[in-house]
C-alpha cells in the first residue's frame, strides 16, 4: 500500500524541479506535479476500504518528549478535503497561467508548498501535526498574495495574517492546555485523544480557544473581517485556493476536534447555532448589497460557511454529514465562481458587477458554466450544493424547526444575491468594452467544464461520498448517544 507521505513529498520534489528548470517551464512542472498527486490520490482512493480505519499511514517519531509522532494517514474525514485540495490546486495553477508573463518560479514553488501543507494538514493524525500544518499552510499563500496581489494587498494581507495567527496561537494554547491535562502513552493519535475524558470546564476552555481559532480561519461570523478585503485584494489564483480549500480548514478543524470538546458543544449548542445562523443571514444580506464581485463572493462564502458550522453544531448525524459534504461542494463551487470572476477581471480589470454586463452575448459558454456554478451555490436540487444544505437543514430541524426556518432563509437570500450577481454581470446589454474581449482560454474552459460537471455529478450521485461522510462522523454520534 502506498504511503501517504508520497502525496506530501511529490509536490515538494516538483517544487525543487521548478527551481532547477527555466522560468517558462515552471507552470508546466507545477501542473504535472499536481496531476501526479491527483493521480496518486485516486489510486489510494480506489484501494480505500472505508470504515473507521486509517489507511496509507506514515509515521515517524517526532517529539518523543510529548509522545507525538509525525503521523499522517488517510481517513474518511480527511479524504474529502484531500480530494478537494488535489482538485483545486491544479485549478489555481491553470488560472495563473494566463498571468505567466509576470509569474516567476517562486510562485509555483509556493503553490507546490501550499499543496504539501494542505495535504499534510488534512491527513494529520494527531493534534500537533495538525497544528503545524495548520500554520504552515498560511505561509505559502501569504507570500503568494504578498508578491502578486493587488494594490492594497498589504493591509488586507496583514489583517488576515495577524488575525489568523492570533487564532492559531490560541489554538496552540488550547492544545498545550489539553496536553497538560492528560497522560498519554506511547503515541497520541486522534483515536487515543478522542478517548480522553475531560471535565466540562476544561472542555469548555479548550473549545473556546479552538473555536475562535477555527472561526477566524474559516472565517465564521463575527470573526470574518479579514475575508472580504483579502479576497478583493489578493492574487486571484491564490484566492481561488484560499476560498476553496483554506477556508475549509477551520470547519474541518471543528470536525477533527469534535470528539474532544463534544460535551461542551452540546452544552452551548443553542448559542453556537444561533451565532452561526446570524452569520448566515448577515453575510447574505451584505452580499445582496455588494457591487464588487470579489466581495460578493467573499460574503456568500461566509454565509455558506455559517451554514456548514450550523450543521456541525447541530451535532446530529445528518447535520455533520451534510456539513462535510457541503465543504467539498462549496469548495468546488466557490473555486469555479472565483475562476469566472478571475476570467472577467483579468480582461476588464474591473471588479464591479456593473462593469461587465452582457457577457452572455459575447461569451455564451462562460455564461453557461457560470450559471451551473451559481446553481450549485444556491443549492438547487441535483447539484452538489443541494445535498449538503438539505442534510444540514434537516439536522437543524431535528433540534428545532424554527432554527431550520431561520437558517433556511439563506436559500432565499442566496438566490437573491447570486442571481443578482449573475444577471448584472452576464445579462443586459453588451457592454461596449466587452467587444475587445479575448475569448476565454482553453485552460479556463477546461477548469470550468470540470468544475461544472463535478458540481452536477456530485448532485446526482452523492451517495458514495455521503457514505464516507457517514463513516467519518459516525464516531461522534456514538459518543453522543453515550452521553445522553
Amino acid at each position: 500500500m502506498l504511503s501517504i507521505i508520497y502525496l506530501i513529498l511529490v509536490p515538494l520534489i516538483f517544487g525543487l524541479l521548478i527551481i532547477l528548470f527555466k522560468n517558462k517551464w515552471s507552470s508546466g512542472i507545477a501542473l504535472a506535479g499536481s496531476a501526479i498527486n491527483l493521480f496518486l490520490f485516486f489510486f489510494m482512493l480506489s484501494q480505500y476500504n472505508g470504515g473507521l480505519r486509517i489507511e496509507n499511514q506514515f509515521s515517524i517519531p517526532w517529539i518523543p518528549e510529548l509522545n507525538v509522532d509525525l503521523h499522517f494517514g488517510l481517513d474518511a474525514l480527511g479524504i474529502f478535503m484531500i480530494l478537494l485540495s488535489s482538485l483545486i490546486l491544479p485549478v489555481g495553477i491553470l488560472a495563473s497561467i494566463k498571468y505567466s508573463k509576470f509569474r516567476r518560479k517562486s510562485y509555483y514553488v509556493l503553490m507546490m508548498i501550499g499543496l504539501t501543507s494542505l495535504i499534510g494538514f488534512f491527513s494529520a493524525q494527531n493534534d500537533l501535526t495538525f497544528y503545524v500544518f495548520f500554520e504552515l499552510a498560511l505561509i505559502p499563500f501569504y507570500f503568494m498574495v504578498l508578491m502578486y496581489g493587488g494594490s492594497d494587498r498589504k493591509r488586507a494581507l496583514f489583517k488576515f495574517f495577524l488575525y489568523t495567527v492570533f487564532g492559531s496561537f490560541l489554538m496552540l494554547a488550547s492544545i498545550i492546555y489539553f496536553r497538560s491535562l492528560i497522560n498519554i502513552g506511547a503515541t497520541s493519535d486522534w483515536s487515543i485523544l478522542y478517548g480522553v475524558e475531560l471535565n466540562l470546564k476544561s472542555q469548555t476552555w479548550i473549545m473556546l480557544g479552538l473555536l475562535i481559532a477555527f472561526a477566524i480561519k474559516s472565517p465564521l461570523f463575527p470573526f470574518h473581517t479579514w475575508q472580504a478585503d483579502l479576497y478583493s485584494e489578493g492574487d486571484r489564483p491564490a484566492i481561488i485556493i484560499i476560498a476553496a480549500v483554506l477556508s475549509k480548514m477551520g470547519v474541518f478543524g471543528i470536525l477533527r476536534f469534535f470528539n474532544i470538546f463534544e460535551n461542551a458543544i452540546l452544552q452551548y449548542q443553542t448559542p453556537l447555532i444561533v451565532l452561526s445562523i446570524i452569520g448566515i443571514i448577515y453575510a447574505a444580506l451584505i452580499a445582496w448589497r455588494q457591487s464588487s464581485m470579489t466581495r460578493l463572493l467573499a460574503y456568500s462564502s461566509l454565509s455558506h460557511m455559517g451554514m456548514i458550522a450550523a450543521g456541525i453544531f447541530s451535532a446530529s448525524v445528518s447535520g455533520l454529514q451534510g456539513s462535510l459534504f457541503q465543504m467539498l461542494s462549496h469548495g468546488l463551487v466557490i473555486a469555479g465562481l472565483f475562476m469566472v470572476v478571475d476570467s472577467i477581471m483579468s480582461r476588464t480589470n474591473n471588479s464591479s458587477i456593473y462593469g461587465s454586463s452582457g457577457i452572455a452575448t459575447s461569451q455564451p459558454r462562460l455564461a453557461t458554466y457560470f450559471f451551473i456554478l451559481c446553481l450549485g451555490s444556491v443549492g438547487l436540487p441535483l447539484t452538489s450544493g443541494f445535498i449538503g444544505e438539505f442534510d444540514i437543514l434537516l439536522g437543524l430541524s431535528s433540534i428545532n424547526w424554527i432554527l431550520a426556518l431561520v437558517a433556511g432563509t439563506s436559500i432565499i437570500l442566496s438566490a437573491i444575491y447570486i442571481f443578482r450577481f449573475y444577471q448584472k454581470s452576464m445579462f443586459g446589454d453588451n457592454h461596449p468594452e466587452n467587444k475587445s474581449w479575448t475569448a476565454i482560454t482553453l485552460n479556463e474552459e477546461y477548469v470550468l467544464i470540470i468544475l461544472s460537471i463535478l458540481v452536477i455529478i456530485l448532485g446526482f450521485f452523492p451517495a458514495s461520498w455521503l457514505e464516507l461522510a457517514d463513516q467519518a462522523t459516525s464516531t461522534f454520534v456514538q459518543l453522543k448517544s453515550k452521553i445522553q
Partner: protein, 629 residues
C-alpha cells in the same frame, strides 16, 4: 415493452433533448433542434398512453432507479419513481400539452437567435415537471419542484438583454424559493416524524395519528406555503403576472398549464395528510377563494393581453385551491386538466395574435382582428367560453363542480367564488371583444402586416380547442351521468370528502350561469366591440386605479420586506462591518500602536533614568516577592 421501459421512455428523452440542444445547440440547424426537442414530449406522451392502455395500475408501483443519497444513518433517499393514476393523469397533461406547445414553438420562435437554447430550456422544464409528478419521495419531488422554478427563471428571462425581464425572472425565482423553504421544512418535519420521506411509506403510517395533530398541522401549513409559492396563491402570487415577460409559449406551458398546477398536484398527492388537518384545509380554502376574487378583480383593469390571461390564471388557481380546501381533490385535479386545455389554448391564441402583430401586446392597440385572423379568433372564442364556464365547454363542468363542492362546505366561500366567476366572465369577454371586434386601434403599418399565423402554430391551437370543447365530458356531474371518469380513475390515488348538493341547487346554478353569461356577454359586446383607444384611459376612478395597479401589492411588499432588508444589508455593509466587526481587529491594533508610541519615551536614552528604573524594578520585585505585599 415492460413497465420499466416505459418509465425510462418517459423520463429520459426530455433530458437527452436538453443535453443535445444545450451542448450542441449552436451547431445544429433550427429544424434539427426543433425536431430533437419535440421527440422528448412526444415519446413521453406515447409511453404514457402505452402505460394507460397496457398497465391497469391496480396498485401503485414504485421503481427504484438508483440510490441517490442517504439522510442520517442508513435512511436512503432513492432516485425512484412512483406510478399511480394521478401520476398518469398528470403525465398526460404535461406531455400532451407539452408536445403541442413544442410544436407551436417551432413556428413561434423561428426567427429568434436563441432558438436552440429555448428548446433546451423547454425540454429541461418538461424533464423537471415529469420528475415532479413521478418522484416517489418528497425530495425527488422537491428536485422537480425547484427544477421547474429554475426553468421558469430561465425562460422568463429568456430575452436577457432586457433588464426588466431579468427582474421579473428573479422575482419569480425568489418568490418560488420562499415557498420552497416552507416546502422543504415540511419535508424535514415529515422525515423526522415518520422517519421516511417516501410518499407511500408516509401514507402507510397515518393510521395512529389524530386529527389536527399539531405537528401535522404545522407540516401541512409549511407545505401549503410551498403551494402558495408555486401555484401563485396569496400572498405569493405577484410573480406570476410579471412572469409574462417570457415568450408566449412559455407562458402557456409553464405559467398556465403545468408548473403552476404543481402545487395543486402536491396537495392532491398528500391528500391523506391534509385530510388529517382540517385547520389547514380551511386556510387553503379561504386562501384560494380570496386569491380567486382578488386576481379576478385585478384582471378587470389590465390592458396587456397576456397580463389579463395571467391574472385569470391566478384566479383559476384560486378556484383549484379552494377545491383542495374543501377536500375535493379530484375536482381540483379535474380543473387542472380542463384549465390546462383552455388556458393553454388562450395563451397560444394570444401568442398567435401577438405573433401576427409583430409583438404588440396591448389591447388598446388591437381590435377588429377577426377579419385578419379567423382561426385565432375562433379558437380564442372557444377558449373564452370554456374559461367563463359556458356549458358544455370544458370549464363549465369543472368549475361547476368546484362551486358545488365549496357550497357544501362554506356558503360565503361559494358567494365569493361566484362573484369572481362573474368577474371572470366580464374580463374575458372584454378581452375577446376588444381584441377581435370593432376597429383596429393600432398603427397602420402593423395593420397592414398583420396576418394569420402559419399552420404549425395553428395546428396545436386546433387540437387544444377540440380538447377544450370535449374535455369537460370526462367529469360529468351526477345528474347527467353516473360515470365521472376522472373521479373513477383517481379513486385509487386519493380520498375525497363526499360533497353532496341537492339537484335543485345544481340546476339553478346552471340556469343562473347561463343567464348571467348571456347578460354579461351582451353588455360586454356593447361596450367593448366599439370601444375607442381613448376610452381605455377614461376609466380613472379610484377603484379602477387600485385595480389597475394590482392593489399596490408590489409596492406594499417592497415597503414591508424588500426595502427594509435592503437597507439593513446596506447598513451592515457600510456601517456595522466597519464600525462593529472590524473594531475587534482594528481597536486592539490601534491601541497597541498607540501604546507603543506612548511607551517609547520610557526608553528615553537617558542613562540615569535607566539606572533608576532598574533599581525601581528591583525594589518592586523585592517588595512583591520577598516581603510579599
Amino acid at each position: 415493452m415492460n413497465f420499466e421501459g416505459y418509465i425510462h421512455l418517459i423520463l429520459w428523452p426530455t433530458l437527452i433533448g436538453f443535453l443535445i440542444n444545450g451542448i450542441f445547440g449552436s451547431k445544429l440547424s433550427r429544424k434539427m433542434s426543433g425536431v430533437i426537442a419535440c421527440i422528448g414530449p412526444l415519446t413521453g406522451l406515447l409511453a404514457t398512453s402505452m402505460i394507460y392502455l397496457t398497465q391497469p395500475l391496480l396498485e401503485a408501483k414504485t421503481v427504484i432507479i438508483y440510490n441517490w443519497f442517504t439522510i442520517g444513518l442508513g435512511n436512503p433517499v432513492n432516485f425512484s419513481v412512483y406510478f399511480d393514476h394521478l401520476t398518469v393523469l398528470m403525465l398526460f397533461i404535461i406531455t400532451g400539452v407539452g408536445s403541442l406547445i413544442h410544436i407551436y414553438s417551432i413556428g413561434y420562435m423561428k426567427d429568434d437567435p436563441g432558438f436552440s437554447r429555448f428548446f433546451a430550456y423547454l425540454n429541461l422544464f418538461l424533464f423537471s415537471m415529469i420528475l415532479l409528478v413521478t418522484g416517489s419521495n418528497l425530495v425527488l419531488l422537491f428536485a422537480g419542484w425547484e427544477g421547474v422554478g429554475l426553468c421558469s427563471f430561465l425562460l422568463i428571462g429568456f430575452w436577457f438583454k432586457n433588464t426588466e425581464y431579468n427582474k421579473a425572472a428573479r422575482k419569480a425565482f425568489v418568490m418560488n424559493r420562499i415557498g420552497d423553504l416552507g416546502f422543504i421544512l415540511g419535508v424535514f418535519l415529515l422525515a423526522l416524524k415518520f422517519n421516511s420521506i417516501e410518499i407511500v411509506k408516509i401514507q402507510e403510517s397515518f393510521g395512529e395519528i389524530a386529527k389536527n395533530d399539531p405537528t401535522i398541522v404545522l407540516i401541512t401549513l409549511l407545505l401549503f406555503l410551498g403551494v402558495c409559492g408555486k401555484s401563485a396563491q396569496i400572498p405569493l402570487f405577484t410573480w406570476l403576472p410579471d412572469a409574462m415577460a417570457g415568450p408566449t409559449p412559455v407562458s402557456a406551458l409553464i405559467h398556465a398549464a403545468t408548473m403552476v398546477t404543481a402545487g395543486i398536484y402536491l396537495v392532491a398527492r398528500m391528500s391523506i395528510l391534509f385530510n388529517l388537518a382540517p385547520f389547514t384545509l380551511n386556510i387553503i380554502m379561504w386562501t384560494g377563494v380570496i386569491t380567486a376574487i382578488v386576481s379576478a378583480s385585478i384582471a378587470l383593469k389590465q390592458n396587456d393581453i397576456k397580463k389579463v390571461l395571467a391574472y385569470s390564471t391566478v384566479s383559476q388557481l384560486g378556484y383549484m385551491a379552494s377545491a383542495l380546501g374543501v377536500a375535493a381533490y379530484t375536482t381540483a385535479i379535474f380543473h387542472v386538466m380542463t384549465h390546462a386545455f383552455f388556458k393553454a389554448l388562450l395563451f397560444l391564441a394570444a401568442g398567435s395574435v401577438i405573433h401576427g402583430l409583430q409583438g404588440e401586446q396591448d389591447i388598446k392597440n388591437m381590435g377588429g382582428l377577426k377579419s385578419k385572423m379567423k382561426v385565432s379568433q375562433i379558437v380564442f372564442l372557444i377558449g373564452t367560453l370554456a374559461i367563463v364556464g359556458c356549458p358544455p365547454f370544458a370549464g363549465f363542468f369543472s368549475k361547476d363542480e368546484i362551486l358545488a363542492s365549496v357550497y357544501s362546505w362554506s356558503f360565503w366561500g361559494f358567494v365569493v367564488l361566484a362573484f369572481s366567476s362573474v368577474f371572470t366572465a366580464w374580463y374575458m369577454f372584454r378581452l375577446y371583444f376588444s381584441t377581435f371586434h370593432g376597429n383596429y386601434r393600432g398603427t397602420q403599418h402593423t395593420w397592414e402586416h398583420a396576418h394569420e399565423s402559419p399552420w404549425i402554430i395553428l395546428f396545436p391551437l386546433l387540437v387544444l380547442a377540440f380538447l377544450s370543447i370535449i374535455g369537460g365530458f370526462a367529469g360529468m356531474p351526477e345528474i347527467l351521468s353516473h360515470h365521472h371518469l376522472v373521479k373513477e380513475y383517481l379513486k385509487f390515488s386519493m380520498v375525497d370528502h363526499t360533497h353532496t348538493v341537492s339537484h335543485l341547487f345544481e340546476y339553478s346554478l346552471w340556469g343562473i350561469t347561463v343567464v348571467a353569461l348571456l347578460i354579461i356577454g351582451i353588455l360586454s359586446y356593447r361596450k367593448y366591440s366599439t370601444i375607442k383607444k381613448e376610452d381605455f384611459e377614461k376609466e380613472e376612478d379610484i377603484i379602477s386605479k387600485i385595480l389597475a395597479n394590482k392593489y399596490y401589492l408590489d409596492e406594499i411588499y417592497s415597503i414591508i420586506f424588500s426595502r427594509p432588508l435592503k437597507s439593513l444589508g446596506s447598513w451592515f455593509k457600510n456601517v456595522f462591518e466597519r464600525n462593529g466587526i472590524d473594531i475587534y481587529v482594528k481597536a486592539p491594533g490601534a491601541l497597541l500602536n498607540k501604546a507603543s508610541l506612548e511607551l517609547k519615551p520610557l526608553q528615553s536614552g537617558n542613562i540615569s533614568w535607566y539606572m533608576i528604573s532598574i533599581l525601581l524594578g528591583f525594589l518592586a520585585f523585592a517588595i512583591l516577592f520577598i516581603f510579599k505585599f
